[in-house]
Each structure stands twice: as structure tokens, then as C-alpha cells.
Amino acid sequence: MTAELILKLAGGVPAAFAACLGFGIVFNLRGKTLVFASIGGALGWLVYLLASGFAGDLQRYLLATVAITIYAEIMARVQKTPVTAYLVVSLLPLVPGGGIYYTMRYFVSGDTGMFIETGLHTLAIAGALAAGILPVSSLVRLYGQFKKHRLAVN
């Protein structure tokens, strides 16, 4: 681990936790869910930063999202709250909000080349996040159906 990465981890991970906590309050999350969702956000950012050593830009987003989704599915079952509550807040440090802003800034200022480049990159990040969420939640669903089916047969 380089010194630069350690510095990023020390500043970024607590900041990601704080950012999720703030958003959790704005989005009206209550009690334990608020804290656990914020921990999920810190976890995602940790994976994102650690993956910088071996993975490319989009793969880092994908890996972090897979980690968050697994965490969210587990927490949703332990705490008996819908997965969405965890997913929405924990994913916030990763979602390409800044990307949309920069894309539309280039659009408004008439810089077509940068508009297209940033726009496609933003869509790709959003796609990477979606591609990270869907397989995990589909597998969980499949497992649930499988268990229900087995119970029905027995």
C-alpha cells in the first residue's frame, strides 16, 4: 500500500460515512437503519479505494457495488427492512451525480466533444452500478424462490 492510498483511506472512508449519515437524515432514515446504511457507504468507498491497485475505473465501481449489495441484502434480512433503504443511502458515494453536473455544464456551455465524452462516461458508471446490483439481487431472489419451492414439494 502506498502512502497516498493510506492518506486517501484515512480521509475518504470517514467522510463517506458522514456523507451517508447526512443523506440518511435528509431521506428520513431512522434509528439503526441510518447507522447501518452509513456503514455500508463507508464499506463501498473502502472497496472502491482498495480496488484502485488492480482494477480499472469501471471495474472499481462494479466491485464496490457488489460489496454494498451483498451487505444490504444481509442487513435487510437481519433488520427486517426493505433492501432499498440500505441500497439508496450506501450507494450515494458512488453514484455519478458529479458526472451529470459536468455533462450538462459542457452541454450548456456548448462544448460538444466534452459533453459527449463526459456523458457517455457518466452513463457507463451508472450502468456499472446497475450491473453490480442486479446479479446479486437476482441471485438472492432465485435462492428465495428455490427455498420456497423445496418447502412446497416436501
Binding site: 426493505p82 450515494l92 451529470i100 451508472a126
Partner: protein
């Protein structure tokens, strides 16, 4: 068909409306309404939901009931989604009567969100934390916190008067850029770009664009495109807002 079933359809659509207005995914709305109607003995329940509309049609003994709900306002209240979700599950399990459903629904919908000062604190925390995450120093985070403190009441005021989303975000973007530029003029911090983008994280539709891609990949094409359009419109509004401030300041100085 007896009015009991009409009542039930209306109530389940009200639950769907509550879910959608507080930021639930469209597939969750479709599933909740469909499950409730099937649990109460409907042979067929077809539900179609996009962020702006719910259409549900149920049939039994050759007769069909249909209802449409238009959704015009949306914000994010995750606690309410969670409670509505539990309610719809309980309804399916315990087959509540319509009066019980109505009472429970009213209870959930009248539940207050966090007080305004706490929401402002959350807004400020988001601004400061993202500024640090993007590489800002302590002084930049402080400036972003100040920026958030000024912006939140403005946004709240615009929402209270039910201004449209486009206009509210133009103003929001303009105010954020103005405060950030003022903070740098006063020598608080030179990292203007980081302060602006950190505070803007409160407004930008990052969740919307991610959910839209998720919907599109999962096959809910119309819902996904609706959300994508909304995200782009909000992004444009914020960009116009900040651009407006930059050009005025550039002209004056």
C-alpha cells in the same frame, strides 16, 4: 361487482401512490398492488407503474375494474417506504378489512419527517463530507458547510411554494455557486470547484440515473427512460444555475 372490491383497489392504489411519491422503485409499486389484489381473491391483477403514473386493472368472474393514479410530486422518504412495504405485507398475510387498511395508511402518511434544523444539518454534513471525499481540505469543507447552510432554506422555500423542479434547481445551482465564489473572495478557501461540486451533491440526481439504468437493464424500459429524462433535466437546470452565476460574476469583475 360489489363496492368492497372497488374500495380495496382504491386503497391499494393509495399505498402504491404513497410508495411512488416517496421514492420507491416502480417494480416495488407494481408488486405491492398486485400482491394485495391477488391476496383478496382477484383472478387477474395487472399493474403498470412509471414514475409519473400508476394504472391497475383487476378482474374476477368476467368483470373488470380499472383505476389510474397520476403522480406529480416526488421526494425521498425511505422510512415511509419501509413502513408502507411492511403494511402491504401485513395486508396480504392477515387480510385486513378496508377500514383497518385505511386507518393504518393514514397513520403512516401523517408521520412527520425529521425537523427542519436536523434536515439542514444533514444537508450541511453532505456538503462538507463530499468536499473532503473529492480531495478538499478542512477550510474547503468549512466553506461547503456554509454553502449548504445558505442553500437548504432557499430550496425548502421553493419546494413549499411548489415551484417546478427545473426552476428550483436553477436557483439552487445559482445560489451554491454564488456562496462558493463569495467564500473564496473572502479568503476562506481557494478550492471553489470542490466546494461547488461537494454542495451540489445534495441536488444532483445520482440515485435517479442509477435506478434508471437498473430499470432499463431489468426490462422496465418506459420507467427507466422516464427517470433518465428527469435526471438529465435536473442536471441541466443545475448547470444553467451555476453557469448563470459564473457569467454574471465574470461580467462584473
Amino acid at each position: 361487482m360489489i363496492s368492497e372490491q372497488e374500495n380495496l383497489l382504491a386503497l391499494s392504489l393509495n399505498i402504491g401512490r404513497g410508495l411512488l411519491e416517496n421514492g420507491a422503485e416502480t417494480y416495488r409499486v407494481e408488486e405491492s398492488i398486485g400482491r394485495i389484489m391477488t391476496a383478496y381473491g382477484m383472478e387477474q391483477a395487472e399493474v403498470f407503474a412509471i414514475p409519473t403514473c400508476i394504472i391497475a386493472s383487476v378482474s374476477r368472474d368476467g368483470q373488470t375494474l380499472t383505476r389510474v393514479e397520476r403522480i406529480t410530486q416526488r421526494r425521498t422518504n425511505l422510512d415511509r417506504i419501509s413502513r408502507l412495504n411492511n403494511l402491504s405485507r401485513e395486508i396480504c398475510d392477515r387480510k385486513y378489512s378496508t377500514s383497518v387498511i385505511k386507518a393504518e395508511l393514514n397513520k403512516i402518511m401523517s408521520q412527520q419527517a425529521y425537523p427542519f434544523w436536523l434536515q439542514t444539518a444533514g444537508f450541511v454534513l453532505v456538503a462538507a463530507a463530499f468536499t473532503i471525499m473529492f480531495g478538499g481540505d478542512f477550510r474547503a469543507a468549512l466553506a461547503a458547510a456554509l454553502c449548504g447552510l445558505v442553500t437548504k432554506p432557499v430550496i425548502e422555500l421553493l419546494q413549499r411554494y411548489q415551484t417546478n423542479v427545473f426552476f428550483a434547481n436553477i436557483i439552487g445551482g445559482a445560489v451554491i455557486a454564488a456562496v462558493a465564489l463569495a467564500a473564496s473572495r473572502l479568503g476562506l478557501s481557494g478550492q471553489v470547484d470542490l466546494i461547488i461540486i461537494g454542495t451540489l451533491m445534495n441536488l444532483v440526481p445520482g440515485v435517479a440515473i442509477t435506478n434508471s439504468m437498473r430499470d432499463i437493464i431489468a426490462g422496465d424500459l418506459v420507467a427507466g427512460l422516464t427517470k433518465l429524462t428527469e435526471a438529465l433535466i435536473i442536471g441541466t437546470a443545475i448547470a444553467i444555475g451555476t453557469g448563470f452565476t459564473f457569467s454574471i460574476v465574470g461580467y462584473l469583475l
